[in-house]
């Protein structure tokens, strides 16, 4: 394991080293998006300064180079998630687009009347709304797996909800609200035994832990580059080759075709069948650089740092009276996301007040309204860490949080 020096790492991130509202920025909204290291920014700049062309078209030098860049990024992603073949890696805009691709291509073709699609109650809207649409079109059923008191999942409940009629089980490996990391491998095994396919939303897990699609036996995995140091606008869909092969294209147009006649078209091979139009080469280049950067630091270091930060933050939050934490209170199967409420204070006000101390956190429903309803919390505040955060930042946050109730007119 290489040594880990957070101060040194922070020098790589220009946006982290700035003042906001006259205070040093404390960025605790990494579940929304992460900041970008110079290594990633330079890779993109370099690409535009030296290459910049449409991949897959034209035989000129720049075009060939762009294709190489684009395809080597795909290969990097393949290796990163341990897929068997680069044909199984489709670039999308983000996790949301990848989930829509699966819903519209696989869902519309293979879901039939009376079939069931099962998700967790804690899913992000991007893993709920497309399925609502599919079950509506197909007269199928969308079912929810609920959570225990401790915000974890009971395999009993999983076995109750996944039945012989279940065709798709789609779940986030880690909740973006609760921080819970779910036993995806175990769930996948059970789902497969019932004949269902499993879609893993890795938006919150892939940036923080080693995700191995073969080990999980995931049929599909989706994630977004921007939550893992890469630019916005690049995301990944992994799918098992035999599934992708039998799925119809999602978007039609250039790049995804083989021969186009006046009335008919044959489609390109994987992965291009699913990548219509000029792709986001800049994003792919940035994603490759981001993966290289993450690998240089190493997941062992990343997880250790995030665990230290999360355990410390949980401990300090428990010190503050009036705080209620929505999510597991100990570190077992838990990621670096903590949602909380402060009695008598609306998350919106909490966010404004801590922002004046330089602290960026998220307030609201976190794109998980069904979960909010289930928790009976109209909104929560959320802090979320990445490996570049520090204990000192948590101290600043706790300090600012402890002042919120005073600002809102409470005695303490």
């Amino acid at each position: 394991m290489v040594s880990f020096n957070v101060e040194k790492i922070r020098e790589d991130f220009p946006t982290l080293n700035q003042q906001v509202n006259g205070k040093t920025l404390v960025y605790l909204d990494n579940a929304a998006t992460t900041h970008k290291p110079k290594y990633v920014l330079n890779a993109i700049k370099d690409y535009y300064e030296k290459y910049n062309a449409n991949p897959n078209r034209g035989a000129h030098y720049l075009g060939v180079s762009a294709t190489e860049f684009y395809e080597s990024s795909r290969e990097k992603v393949r290796q990163f998630i341990n897929a068997k073949s680069a044909r199984e890696i489709i670039f999308t805009r983000n996790a949301t687009e990848a989930l829509n691709l699966i819903a519209y291509s696989y869902g519309l073709k293979y879901i039939e009347e009376g079939d069931e699609i099962v998700v967790l109650i804690s899913e992000h809207h991007s893993n709920i709304v497309p399925w609502q649409k599919i079950v509506q079109i197909k007269n199928a059923k969308l079912k929810y797996i609920y959570l225990n008191e401790d915000y974890r999942l009971d395999m009993e409940e999983v076995r109750r909800k996944i039945t012989d009629r279940t065709k798709i089980v789609s779940l986030a490996q880690m909740s973006n609200v609760l921080g819970t990391v779910y036993p995806v491998k175990e769930i996948a095994e059970y789902a497969h035994s019932k004949g269902a396919i499993v879609i893993v939303d890795g938006a919150q897990s892939v940036p923080h832990m080693k995700v191995d699609v073969l080990d999980l036996d995931a049929d599909f995995l989706v994630f977004s580059g921007h939550k893992m140091l890469a630019p916005m606008g690049i995301g990944v869909l992994y799918g098992k080759e035999e599934l992708l092969e039998k799925m119809p294209p999602f978007l039609m147009g250039g790049d995804m075709i083989e021969y186009v006649e006046e009335q008919t078209t044959t489609f390109a091979e994987l992965p291009r069948k699913f990548e219509a139009g000029t792709p986001n080469v800049e994003g792919a280049v940035g994603l490759r650089a981001a993966i290289e950067y993450i690998e240089k630091i190493g997941f062992e270091n990343i997880q250790k740092q995030e665990e230290n930060l999360t355990a410390y933050a949980l401990e300090r939050l428990k010190e503050i009276p009036y705080v209620k934490i929505y999510g597991p209170l100990d570190m077992k199967d838990r990621g670096a996301v903590i949602s909380f409420g402060l009695e008598g204070c609306h998350p919106h006000d909490v966010s404004t007040i801590v922002d004046s101390y330089g602290v960026a956190l998220r307030a609201g429903h976190h794109c998980a309204q069904p979960l909010m309803k289930y928790l009976k919390a109209p909104a929560t505040s959320r802090i979320s860490f990445y490996f570049y955060n520090t204990k000192e930042e948590i101290d600043i946050f706790i300090d600012s949080l402890s002042k919120v109730r005073k600002w809102l007119g409470y005695g303490s």
């Binding site: 919106h348 006000d349 404004t352 007040i353 609201g364 909010m372 109209p378 007119g409």
Partner: protein
């Protein structure tokens, strides 16, 4: 805009006293307004008489201090006014927020609600301040 300007005594008093926060038994018009993105969710209740006077008004629901205070101030203001007058006040309030009206004399009619004059310096909170006023306009449009 700093916190002292935002969380003034007046705003905190309105958001916490809850003197306008209750159900009206004989409400003949209710209108829900919400900001899904931040979780402010209020329902405005009005008792309107035949001649178009707002005889009583209240609200229920949840939200941040800004949305709750703005709602409460608005209710104090519109009680006893005609629907037309209430709508005009809502328009003046919204124009103030957009900085279309800046003259304090012109804004005097808003009474306490004038404290939100500078909320546009805090773009993230504008929606909270205007929620109830839009809800009022909606209620009147639907023929409260």
């Amino acid at each position: 805009m700093d916190l002292n300007e935002l969380y003034t005594e007046l705003i905190l008093e309105h958001s916490q006293s809850g003197h306008n926060k209750r159900h009206l038994k004989d409400a003949n018009c209710t209108e829900r307004g919400h900001n899904p993105s931040c979780g402010d969710d209020i329902t405005l209740e009005l008792v309107c008489s035949e001649d178009g006077t707002i005889k009583d008004a209240s609200f229920t629901g949840i939200g941040c201090a800004i949305s709750q205070a703005s709602t409460s101030m608005m209710i104090d203001l519109i009680k006893g006014k005609s629907k037309e007058e209430a709508e005009t006040l809502a328009d003046i309030f919204l124009s103030m927020i957009k900085k279309e009206i800046t003259d304090d004399e012109e804004l005097e009619v808003l009474e306490d609600a004038i404290v939100f004059k500078n909320i546009s310096n805090m773009p993230a909170r504008v929606k909270c301040a205007v929620l109830s006023w839009h809800t009022l306009k909606e209620a009147i449009k639907k023929g409260a």
